[in-house]
């Protein structure tokens, strides 16, 4: 009796937290200014929202097969999410849509890049991003 109560409370917590993240992501899709920043809101749904909801449902599943199916659903979401975001970002950049940037560091030299002096720049050199590759 005690055991099922604990499991029920745990599912409630997980499902409520998952629902919060799902709604947050949807609100983010509405509020964000351009297509690139909206992708970040979508990844909140894809990761935190999905995993918390699925974990909460999984605790209530009667059989092991249902749990396994939930795990497969989760795995599918994880592989779809980043691949779709990446393809979307690339297609949007290709189509000439530029994100509204606050700061553009693309012109700065990357530590370890050919023909560039990587000691000249403090931003990219501070924590040794490229020093391991030398």
């Amino acid at each position: 009796m005690m055991g099922t109560l604990v499991v029920d409370i745990l599912s409630w917590v997980l499902i409520c937290a998952g629902s919060f993240f799902v709604i947050t992501g949807a609100v983010g899709i509405l509020r964000m200014p351009d297509v690139f920043s909206r992708m970040h809101a979508v990844s909140v749904i894809d990761t935190a929202g999905a995993v918390l909801l699925v974990l909460g449902l999984g605790l209530q599943a009667g059989s092991l097969l249902v749990v396994f199916k939930l795990v497969v659903v989760l795995g599918l979401l994880f592989f779809i999410g980043p691949v779709a975001s990446h393809a979307l970002a690339q297609a949007a950049l290709q189509a000439g849509i530029e994100p509204k940037l606050d700061q553009d560091r693309r012109g700065q030299p990357v530590a370890g890049e050919m023909g560039l002096d990587n000691t000249a720049n403090k931003q990219t050199n501070d924590a040794g991003t490229g020093s391991r590759t030398q």
Binding site: I15, G56, V73
Partner: protein, 93 residues
Amino acid sequence: MFFVATGAVLLALVLVVYRAISGPTVFDRVLAANSIGTLAILFLAALGFLTGRPEWLDIGLTYGLLNLIGTFAVLKFFRHGDLAFDVEEDGTE
């Protein structure tokens, strides 16, 4: 508790559908369509538990796979203007 999950996903779906209709660029619409797919999988899972029939998860899985292929088809079409475009054949990325 399944009511909470189903309700939350439905509310999120309404918000995302609004973005899909109003989205200024085609990529906003594709993004919204993609997250509608994700939300539909979660909705089917939650609804399956709500009605006591977890078999609905299978439908959710199929929906997810179709969603992935659909998103790629749309993106490939808008990037290359051709669904049969072969990067290796063409050489230019």
